[in-house]
């Protein structure tokens, strides 16, 4: 997979996005000033664990943050020149599902259990593309066939519960793609699926991208999926990007201790087996109680004293990655690991 630059004319340019939530434990900064761009035909991976803010980022772009308790407190998201974050809800609704589509981990969150698939799929194209009932239905059947649903002309009149998990995911993807969006935001789209079905869905997304030039933001925790699908990757931790790199270099030459830790902690299918894994110690960050300085410091095997007082920002590394770390992981010593973190 080749590197693409998103610089010439980005489809979407997000600048300094900040999202806060009001909780019992005070104000929590779920997304803390992230910036990224994505170009047409490109797949950008956003990788992180629970509480990293990767899903909140997606919801903020789509104007779907529950408000209150949530609030987008700063930032811009220029999509084809217009700022999504400053748009009226009505204007955003016109873009959502039309030029920007979303797919989620659980298809039932975006499928209405009381409506047939036909009713739901024709609604979008009638609304956004001005199709007649007949056109919309033909188009919907064609989309279902395209995502590999056999006997689509009959099955389209079924309800979501009559489809299996993998089939529902396909229905959702068909629905998301039925207006030929310029940007597809996929939030853990295959996490709930079996691997053979996952392989089919990922293959299908790649094919659609090749044919339509759709840009994809792939939000996932699965580094295998990232390796297969993404061109560039942003690694997220506690609401910030800690590393950005083209996919090959992220895996071959990670420069942030968290990225390194994630890669080392994976059991490998092609590995030697049965030796101990190098785990990252501690737990994912509690956003209500982040430490001063670098949020990863309590779990970081490289941490030095300065990490407790300085919050690192993304800076260029010698290999071209950008990483938010005061330390050079290629030369710095690692604190000896305890046997049982």
């Amino acid at each position: 997979m080749n590197e693409r630059s998103g610089t010439d004319r980005p489809l979407l340019a997000v600048e300094n996005l900040q999202v806060q939530f009001r909780t019992d434990e005070g104000i929590v900064q779920a997304v803390d000033g992230i910036s990224f761009t994505i170009a047409a035909g490109e797949t950008l991976g956003i990788v992180g664990e629970s509480g990293s803010g990767k899903s909140v980022t997606n919801l903020a772009l789509m104007g779907l943050i529950p408000q209150p308790p949530g609030k987008v407190v700063a930032g811009q998201a220029r999509f084809q020149g217009e700022d999504l974050l400053g748009m009226s809800p009505a204007a955003l609704a016109k873009i959502r599902g039309n030029r920007i589509a979303m797919i989620f981990q659980d298809p039932m969150t975006s499928l209405n259990p009381f409506l047939t698939v036909a009713q739901q799929m024709t609604e979008v194209t009638e609304l956004h593309l001005g199709f007649s009932r007949r056109q919309a239905l033909d188009h919907a059947v064609a989309m279902l066939e395209r995502v590999g649903i056999a006997d689509a002309g009959r099955r389209i009149f079924g309800y979501p519960h009559e489809f299996s998990g993998g089939m529902r995911q396909r229905v959702m993807i068909a629905m998301a793609l039925s207006c030929k969006p310029d940007l597809l935001i996929a939030d853990e789209p295959t996490t709930a699926l079996d691997v053979t079905i996952q392989a089919q869905i990922l293959e299908m997304m790649q094919q659609l991208q090749r044919e339509e030039g759709t840009a994809i933001i792939m939000i996932t925790h699965d580094l295998g999926v990232v390796a297969k699908l993404c061109h560039r990757v942003n690694v997220m931790y506690a609401g910030r990007f800690v590393e950005k790199a083209p996919v090959e270099r992220l895996f071959a030459q990670p420069r942030h201790p968290y990225t390194l830790g994630l890669l080392e902690s994976l059991p490998r299918l092609d590995g030697q087996g049965s030796n101990r894994l190098t785990a990252i110690s501690g737990s994912p960050p509690d956003l209500a109680q982040l430490p001063d300085g670098c949020a990863f410091r309590p779990r970081c095997p490289y941490a030095i004293e300065r990490c407790a007082s300085e919050t690192p920002t993304l800076v260029d590394q010698e290999n071209g990655n950008r990483a938010a770390c005061l330390i050079d992981v290629t030369t710095s010593p690692r604190v000896a690991e305890t046997k049982r973190p």
Partner: protein, 339 residues
């Protein structure tokens, strides 16, 4: 209940090590009924003739996709799902068909760790009490020594003993899984059945729990039946692995042999479907794409259960049910060449 044969004359002993667990031709069929009088219409054959052995100190991995019967197999071993055919032998005793009461002493030998550390712990009990319960149930340790034993177990699984009086909701997912493991250990079992023990955890936490399970195995000489859909995890932790499809084991082999030289077409497809975290390797890999989905275990079929999706199936595959054949490395496929 069925009369369990006398353990004294058990026939389990092969030449060398007696298996701790032996599952022979296990079937778990759930009847499906319809109509006013609930006539049996058919059966969901969740487990349909599964056989394997687990030796003391060994980890046997069971992999497969949803609905393949791996969790039902686990539940049957614990007596939580009714075996409708076959035999389950644990530590020289036949345990299938035992009543709850008869099963109770055997529950000391085999314990279970569940996938969901959020719903498998009683939210109204403190951690200390959760871990102490099995000791009370099995009458282990003198009551005044139990607290000390709880503290020892907490330390063993990497929980801070100061958290003795905290409640499950105060812990993260990874810590709750450690509580579940400590509770299982409290019964001093020889075998732990782990059903997707790390799949609800974040990547960085998965590695911690996998390491813990492997350390405990070494220190305590435990055996595991390790069930997961993530094949990289299963490969890492298991000595031998069985691949399940539609209620049957289609291939069974030492972990390394299975991954280096998968012989059943389903195992080959399953392995090739997993994206590996290595972009360069990933771009070069050949994928065997399976079409369609796993048939429902209610569907009647003749011949090989995988034939409907198999990329290399021949006409004879639709007629003959292939048996699991081979010595160390067994595959249930008519088309597999002998190694």
């Amino acid at each position: 209940m069925s009369s369990a044969p006398n353990p004294a004359e058990n026939r389990l002993t092969p030449a060398d090590a007696q298996p701790l667990l032996e599952v022979r031709n296990l079937r778990v069929h759930f009847p499906t009924r319809q109509g006013l009088f609930g006539q049996q219409r058919g059966a969901i054959r969740a487990v349909d003739g599964v056989s394997f052995q687990v030796r003391p100190g060994e980890t046997f991995g069971l992999v497969g996709e949803s609905g393949c019967g791996k969790s039902t197999t686990a539940r049957a071993i614990l007596g939580l799902a009714p075996a409708t055919g076959g035999e389950i032998w644990l530590d020289g005793q036949r345990i299938d068909g035992l009543s709850d009461r008869q099963m109770r002493p055997m529950r000391r030998v085999v314990q279970m760790v569940f996938q969901d550390p959020f719903s498998s712990l009683n939210p109204r009990m403190t951690v200390g009490r959760i871990i102490r319960e099995p000791m009370k149930l099995f009458g282990l340790h003198r009551p005044e020594h139990r607290k000390l034993e709880v503290l020892r177990l907490m330390d063993l699984v990497g929980l801070n003993p100061r958290f003795l009086n905290r409640y499950p909701h105060e812990f993260s997912g990874g810590q709750r899984q450690r509580i579940g493991i400590a509770r299982a250990l409290a019964a001093e079992p020889r075998l732990i059945v782990c059903d997707e023990p790390v799949s609800a955890l974040d990547v960085s936490i998965q590695a911690q729990v996998i390491n813990l399970l492997m350390d405990l195995k070494d220190e305590l000489g435990l055996a595991y039946v390790f069930i997961a859909h993530d094949l990289s995890v299963v490969r890492h932790i298991s000595d031998r692995i069985g691949v399940m499809y539609l209620g049957r084991i289609v291939e069974q082999a030492p972990a390394d042999a299975l991954y280096r030289n998968p012989r059943h077409p389903y195992t080959q497809a399953l392995l090739s479907a997993i994206p590996v975290p290595d972009p360069e390797l990933e771009s070069r890999r050949e994928r065997i794409m399976l079409t369609g989905e796993i048939p429902s275990p209610e569907t009647e079929y003749r011949g090989c259960p995988f034939a409907s999706r198999c990329p290399v199936a021949e006409v004879r595959c639709l007629e003959v049910v292939p048996a699991l054949e081979g010595d160390e490395h067994q595959a249930a496929c008519l088309l597999v060449d002998e190694p």
